[in-house]
Symmetry: D2
Subunit: 341 residues, 4 copies
């Protein structure tokens, strides 16, 4: 069985394991205040070109999402997001459990537009009995989206302009940021990301690390007391340096980008093969998540040798599925899959 069901099915880049070995006997303070975390912070700030940013390391994505959003929202505010947004559909209501509603916008490909967001905000403030409805307090998007698609620089710029117009922060979930940045059709740099939002996170779990997400706060307004939030939401790792060490390794020698590029190259190879063989796609194939539409017969056949997720019924005889390529996926594995398409 070769697995294409997600990008968190393997371990990490070998340099991380080596670094854990080398540093194992070091004694450092806990909770993210140690030389490795400090060094990793410096590397990230240099990479994104924002010396003024605050960088915090959290263990996982759901935790990063609720800790950031909850730290920003007032009790009566909600998070504007795509109806397919991770916070809305795949976090067991973790955001609602902190007291906040998802204010969802319809989407076909996982993205939301500047004008959708502006309309939602205008509708809220122009409504009757405005205080009977949840006030939009943050805009949440994923880059790449949960559908594997991307925002162009123009789209992101427009979206952020609306957010700034209404003084509502923009938060970018970058659980798969590396794969988005290295995509062939992408025109957004990591510096753009840092400059076109108020908070974002750089996903480690799905891009090279054992676990860990680096939350980057660029807007001063949201920096104060963030560590209280991390601790309260259960995200403050005692041996915090585990996170620092991992991001040190990822942001040394450009590794974060190199390994993401590897996944993108294989994803493109798979996409090209699917296109050549005439498969249609459920979402446009842009990053490391590929959503072809298979006949149910073919799907069952492939399932004998490959693990992948069924994503949605297309018609009585066809189903959209998801193949995910990771930083550790081997070319032979992709070739094996292609040969059976």
């Amino acid at each position: 069985m070769i697995r294409f069901d997600s990008d968190y099915i393997e371990g990490c880049i070998p340099e991380i394991l080596e670094a854990l070995q080398c540093t194992n006997e070091e004694q450092t303070q806990g909770y993210g205040i140690d030389p490795h975390c400090e060094h990793a912070r410096a590397l990230i700030k240099e990479t994104i070109g924002r010396e003024d940013a605050d960088v915090h390391f959290l263990v996982g994505g759901t935790q990063a999402n609720i800790t950031v959003i909850d730290s920003i929202l007032k009790h009566y505010q909600g998070a504007v997001c795509a109806e397919s947004g991770h916070i809305n559909v795949h976090e067991t209501g973790a955001l609602e459990a902190t007291g906040h509603k998802c204010l969802t916008l319809p989407t076909k490909d996982g993205t939301i537009t500047a004008s959708q967001v502006e309309q939602l905000i205008e509708d809220h403030y122009n409504g009757e009995s405005v205080e009977h409805t949840v006030q939009p307090g943050i805009v949440y998007i994923s880059f790449p989206t949960e559908s594997g698609t991307l925002y162009s620089k123009k789209q992101l710029t427009d979206l952020y302009a609306v957010c700034q117009k209404y003084d509502i922060p923009l938060f970018i979930d970058g659980a798969r940021l590396g794969y988005g940045l290295m995509a062939r059709t992408n025109d957004v740099t990591i510096q753009d990301i840092a400059n076109l939002c108020d908070v974002f996170y750089i996903g480690g779990t799905k891009v090279g690390a054992l676990f860990g997400e680096a939350v980057v706060i660029t807007n001063d307004k949201y920096k104060k007391d963030f560590r209280y939030n991390i601790k309260q939401r259960g995200g403050m790792l005692a041996k915090g340096r585990m996170l620092g060490i991992q991001f040190e390794e990822l942001f040394t020698n450009n590794r974060y980008f190199t390994i993401a590029k590897h996944a993108i190259d294989l994803s493109d190879k798979l996409t090209n093969a699917l296109q050549e063989k005439g498969y249609a796609f459920y979402f446009p194939a842009m990053t490391n998540q590929i959503f072809p539409i298979l006949s149910n017969v073919k799907m069952k056949e492939l399932a004998q040798n490959f693990a992948f997720e069924s994503w949605g019924k297309v018609d009585d005889t066809h189903t959209a599925v998801r193949f995910v390529i990771s930083f550790m996926t081997k070319e032979e594995a992709v070739d094996g899959l292609i040969s059976q398409l």
Copy 2:
């Protein structure tokens, strides 16, 4: 600088690093449903002698505490605990953030008694306007306590009897469980722990692992849907096998107990030295946290070479401090400290 400020300042036992290396390229399902987690669960259930238990792996202690307690309590119930209980004083109100009050009991040494708990429950139900006050819904204790002390088997048995009498579950925070079990004065076995409460957790972070706590649910009533809670509270690690692998190594060849014994032996050595030199103790020295009372002069002197926490002012010239010995503490380090006392 040699650090005695906590038991999470170093890495992990070498076997864990080796196992991470060996398994790095394996492909497994995420979220704790993989052969390593399954194997670790089996090892733990065998060790505690409870095949019927449910075992879940969470990343950290605060997370484990709120996930367990919140999953059990109704909205109007609170957690009975010592006023020094970790959930009450060192988790940034994480429990309150899930909506629940700590119902605190006074304590001198970190323990609470069966009769204190019974009195609190009786007072609640005998009060006027009972529904104007928070209903006791769970009893939380730590073994060992935050003051490094222990419950005897008799004390634990009595406490659990009260809990059962009133049908209120007992939850044991075992962040430092290993050190408690291996303490010289301890008469409680890990099987006793499993049989004298409804839920407990076996701390990995402070006892040999990089991170990770194994939550063990022995009472059927609290097993249902626990994974939803883990996910909602941000504690479901994507590469869940990282936790399984660590607990596999800890519960192979009795390692969890051997490494804890090492820390206890060094703790006893330190305690004996302190006693011989005539130091008084703030709390009885039982486990791997030692709380001697130092003159402020001596405290400053030691602080030049050793990291440790100041725990509380005793009088104008004396302060209680905390030395913590871990599974990785070297005998030379303890000898060095002793030589300067």
Copy 3:
């Protein structure tokens, strides 16, 4: 200016004011444990034909909704409801503020169907990674709906059958219950309501009282400790007898139904007039909320003499509006409105 913008713009039935006068100097216990509340409970239980029910008096609708739902749901569960459900759109995220997500179903007329609910439940349990999504834990409907429409007895029976099949409680928001029961097209009795759900409430605020909603719990499973929830959610009125006195008056001499009938008769008169004049309706006109579609010109014209809500743009020259008739609306007012249509 004559107001048709809601059914809470006037005071109460005169009998309530008289009763408040007569009882003003009585001394009674607080918090809903007094002879008036007891008597009102008895009257309600007799009316609904369920001596086994628990009846609690709360101040308002949002409070009743969150207190009931929150008391039933586990932390990781959500409330299934129409996307137009009051809890989803007009309570400022009050339910989310207690930690729970609304699991919304599309609707055209404000109702949801048994098969929609069954599909949602099936989809949840058949999904991959079931615990990554919010578990359906209660079904919430309004009778009449927020769109002024009704469930037939058949629809309600089917819906409740699905709920019982999956052991998920059905909760009926009866903020305007009286108007629904007295509607011409209605085939549901108040006894049916009591027998076809687990919890419901009888709205007083919009049907004759100054304020107050009577929550009726018919399923034993949800009765325990409900008063703790009322107190915790801020809904336990100190001078609780104010609520008892009001429901005593409403449920004496059939008044609750008589006054609702008055509103329905006037609503029908208005509906007939609108139909005769050729107006289209945004939602089917069934109860005391009428949603005709007006030209924008006519809407502005009417707005000079009448208060009513604009409900939604239909096209560039037409808007749906809402006229609400209450138990206190005068026939002259309706005649005045009709004359200007």
Copy 4:
């Protein structure tokens, strides 16, 4: 049976009933935006001498407390209060249910001091791992306290100075404000109250109204969007004018103070009688709550004719009890009680 068990056992001042009668057929907008609420706001602002204040009407005290505190605190902050504070002991954890911890201070008479508060704040910020503990975010006091005692103007001034020094708001729970202001030993005016805190509320429920508390926000920082909070916490009365009408009547012709004075006069009469007869007091008798210590024999004897609360065991043969006098208490009732002491 004559009741002295609380000050919410009767109805309201007759002027309120008359006003409800006179206004019953008026049509007004809902939710507190109507001429009666506006007028009541104007009267209150004039009375307290703060035209710049925002005044909101809520139904009850617990609701007022959580709505105010929750609207001000960030998620990781708690409310500093006396261990006997109403929010800490008599609201079923309503505050914790909004996510916030009570940070309690010991007290003998229900008051807390400026130096206690300063110490708590200093201890927090000087602690190790500051973000592992709940940050003090608001100071909550009651005037009069739950023990019937008062802050002097000097004490209040000192307390507010500490709050301002650390930029932490002071919130005064005035559920029984009138009785405090009219107490013989009191040197604080309602204008002082308004100037020596950031938010307070004027209790109506216990001082003349059927129900209702007027929340007064004097600090601009806490005014924004407060109505969202009221709605979300279930406190926005649909027929909001009921609250406006009541406060109109209370703040016309000085009634609020006159009726409180009546209660205080009777309380003083009772206090003097108790003193003359040699009874000791559990708390100093200052306002309308009197806490004498009775022999258990006497307590049982009195309980045959009078309702009152037992407040705490003093020794095996004596108990502290509470007698409460209200704005409606009759002099004969007090005389009757005195005659049996």
